[in-house]
Every structure is written in C-alpha cells, then in structure tokens.
Amino acid sequence: MNPDTWLATALDEAADPAATGPGGLPLWEVRLAEAGRVCGPAHADAARTALLRAARPGTTALTRVYRHGTAAERRAVLTVLDALVPDNSALPLVEDALRTHDTRLLAAALGPYAARHLGAHAWRHAILKCLFTGVPVSAVHGLPLRAHGDAELARMLGDFADERTAAGRPVPEDLHTVLALTAVRPAVPTAPPTDGARPGAVRGEEN
C-alpha cells in the first residue's frame, strides 16, 4: 500500500481506541508496530509519533506500548511523552531507556520530558552517560538551563576528565561544552537550584 494512504487510514483508525486488529490487539498498536516496514526507515519515526499523537494514549497505554515495543517503537514513545503526559508518571520509561546502552534510545530519552521531570542526580548521570557512549550533548533538551550553575555536575565532569587524562585517553570534546555551561555567568539570570523538577525554567527552552 502507498505509505501516505496507509498513514492517513492509520491515523483515522487511531482516533478510535476501541478498534482491534490481529491477535485482538488495539489496532493503533498494530499500526505502530508495522509503521517501519510500510513507511520506510526515513519516515518511520515521524509516522510513529504521528500515530501516538492521534491515539493520545495515557501513561498506562504508553507504558504497555513501550514495554512491548521494539527499540524504534520505544523511541517514538519517548519522543511524545512531553506532549501526552502532563505529570511525571511516565518517568519510569525515561529511566528504563537511560539504563540501556542503545545510543538512539538514550538520545530520545533526554527530550523535553526528561528536562522537565528528571531529578538532578539521574539527569547528571545521563549527561555523563552521553559523554561515555558518544551521544552528542546537542541531543539533550534544555541542557544550557539545567547545566547552568550546577557545581556538582561540574565536579563530576572534572573528575571524569582527570580519569581520562590519567589513562592517557582523550577527553570528549563535548565534556568541555557542558563544563562551560555549568559556569555561573553573572550576566545571565540565575537559574533556581538544580534539584528536582523545574517546569517553568526548562519548558521554554527549544534546542
């Protein structure tokens, strides 16, 4: 089937959460699984996020889809969390993705939802994990605001740089980028302390 026709039909179907498909599964979940092979790798991510936005699942359904999903489906779920989940109830999905070593999942986990809800300790470790695994920190949503004035993150980055230097290994370039962001610059309005969620401060940051 033509991918555009397929997607248009699938988006209509997704608006009816009661519709079921093969194996008695919700039809929109079936379409979410099939999207990659129908739409092709270049359009799969966009098709999946569009399906999720059309179906508007709550945290329970998103959690089910994530747990039963392939890596590509999980990335799609992580991408729509900020749009579909108003509170921090989907945080376990972000934490699950941050436990993996799949760099594309790590990057997807560090979108606006994580910027808004992830606690300071987990967020700092996620940044360090990006440096370890080669995920560019440009993928981290809201990095400048969350890193600003974060002395603990600066300490962790410094220790990591020392460890690399002691081993005669290169320090990732991104480490210097993040380290510079942790500095307190008097000209910039000071951000609130970095512990816990900071909804207002981070939500406006688009990068």
Partner: protein
C-alpha cells in the same frame, strides 16, 4: 563475497564476532529465538529475550553495518515445559514487529505431544501473520524427526515452500527437498555439517533453495564458517555466482517471503549525527 547468515545466535556472541563477520563479508543475518543452555522457568524470561532480539542485537549489529533480523518462536527444547507454554499466547504481538522475518525456530527436540502442539500451532501462526517458518529438525532420531516434521507441515495451512527445514545432513536432505521445503544446513566445527560435506551435497543436489548457516551459539561453533563454505565451493569449481546464490540470494528470497527484509539500513556513521557509536559498550 557477500554473506547472509540465515541462522546465527548473536546474543551468545561477542561484539568482536560482529567485527570479524563484517570483515569476512557478512552483511545481513537472521537470529532465530532458541534455547539459552539453561532452561527458562517463566514466560517473562522469553519476553526479555525477544526484546533483546528486537532492540539490543539490531543496535549492536548496526555498529558493523550488518542488517539484523530475527525469527521468533517458542523453541523446540522448551516447548515441552508447561511453565513456558504461555509464550505461545504472547507470540502474536511480537510477530507483528518490523524485522521479524519468520516464525522460528520451531520443530522437534524429543518428539513429544507438547512439541507436536507447539509446532502445529506456530506453523498456523506463521500462516496468519504472513511469515515463513524456520523449522529445526531434531539432532536425535533425525530421520524419523524429519518425516514427522514433513507430515506436520503438510497438515498445516502453511505451504511447504514457505518452510525452511534446518540442520539437514546427508541422511535427511533428499526427503526434505522432496517435500517442497527450502533446505538449511548448519556448518559446525565438529558436528552437524562441515564445509566439504556441504560442497558434496551441493554437487549432488544443486544450489536451488539451499541455505547455509553457521548456527553459531554459545557452544563450540564458528560464525565465519559460512565464508569457509563459500571458499570451499569455489575451490571445488563452483562459480562466484553459485556462491552468491547460496550465501546471499537464497536467504534473501526465503526471508523475503515475509515482505519485511530491510537490507538497506542506515550506515553506522549515519546512526547518530555522524558521531561514532563504537564506544557504546563502555
């Protein structure tokens, strides 16, 4: 030499193996779900494993430019364990996934009624989900097992030309071929088949609908024996086109029956904005 390994258990192999396979010419593979050596005791253990075949292994393979696909099933060795039987009910949601190109491996281990049921049920699932099936033939009582397998296939809604009968050898190849199924051969260092016996079978039966795999797993096995077999074919007078047919075009044709083969994956460097991902295991 481009190689598609149609049966290899990468979950049991190191990342070094992916690197060596790529260097040897492997560009694509299918990882069928199997037994881990230690029996599983609950369905959830299977689901974590299926998740790995749909998540972590494709990611690892992509680092080396290898297109990873999988076949999913309740494997023959655990099909008789009632603790694992609920996996059959959960399979539909997994069989829908991209890069699931077959039901497998299913088939007989000890030829029990529970295995009869699992095999017949999973052949029916393959038919319902538009997938071919990778059917393991037993290591003990092999010829009787092959015959019973062919009977179950013929009674199933799945056409024989959508079935790959695997782990064949000199004693089972003729009847397997006569059944109309695709024929699979596992090349092992000690057991199953070796490259020279494989060449002799190709000389006698031809290259049509023949797939050669390493079936490498946690046991004594070698993921590069597909390449060794290709070289043995060339040394015996087969052409490069013959080798390409057996090691690439035949597996592409068989698993292509799913309509889900995706051999044109993103290059490793494109996976994440040009950043190298090879350090991911730190």
């Amino acid at each position: 030499m481009r190689i598609f390994d149609p049966h290899i258990h990468m979950t049991s192999r190191t990342t070094d193996d992916y690197e060596a396979m790529r260097a040897a010419g492997v560009r694509a593979l299918v990882e069928p779900a199997f037994w881990l050596g230690q029996p599983r005791t609950s369905p959830e253990s299977f689901y974590d494993y299926f998740d790995a075949l749909l998540g972590w292994e494709p990611f690892r393979a992509a680092q080396y430019g290898i297109a990873h696909h999988c076949a999913l099933a309740l494997n023959p060795k655990e099909a008789g364990d009632p603790r694992c039987a609920p996996v059959l009910d959960a399979l539909p949601r997994y069989l829908l996934k991209d890069h699931v190109v077959a039901v497998g491996e299913t088939g007989y281990d000890s030829m029990t009624p529970a295995e009869d049921h699992a095999l017949a049920h999973q052949l029916t699932l393959a038919h319902e989900f538009g997938l071919p099936a990778l059917v393991h033939t037993p290591h003990r009582d092999k010829l009787a097992g092959l015959r019973r397998t062919v009977d179950v296939v013929s009674e199933s809604p799945l056409a024989p030309d959508r079935v790959l009968l695997d782990h064949l050898n000199e004693t089972t190849v003729k009847e397997a071929k006569d059944s109309g199924a695709w024929t699979g051969f596992s090349i092992y260092p000690d057991t199953k088949m070796d490259p020279h016996r494989m060449v002799a079978i190709l000389q006698e039966y031809g290259t049509d609908k023949v797939l050669v795999n390493s079936a490498a797993d946690w046991g004594r096995s070698d993921p590069l024996l597909t390449r060794t077999t290709g070289e043995a074919m060339l040394a015996a007078g087969f052409t490069e086109d013959d080798v390409d047919k057996v090691l690439w075009r035949n597996p592409v044709a068989f698993y292509g029956l799913s309509g889900r083969l995706d051999l044109d994956r993103e290059s490793p460097s494109a996976l994440h904005e040009g950043n190298s991902l090879l350090r991911g295991g730190e």
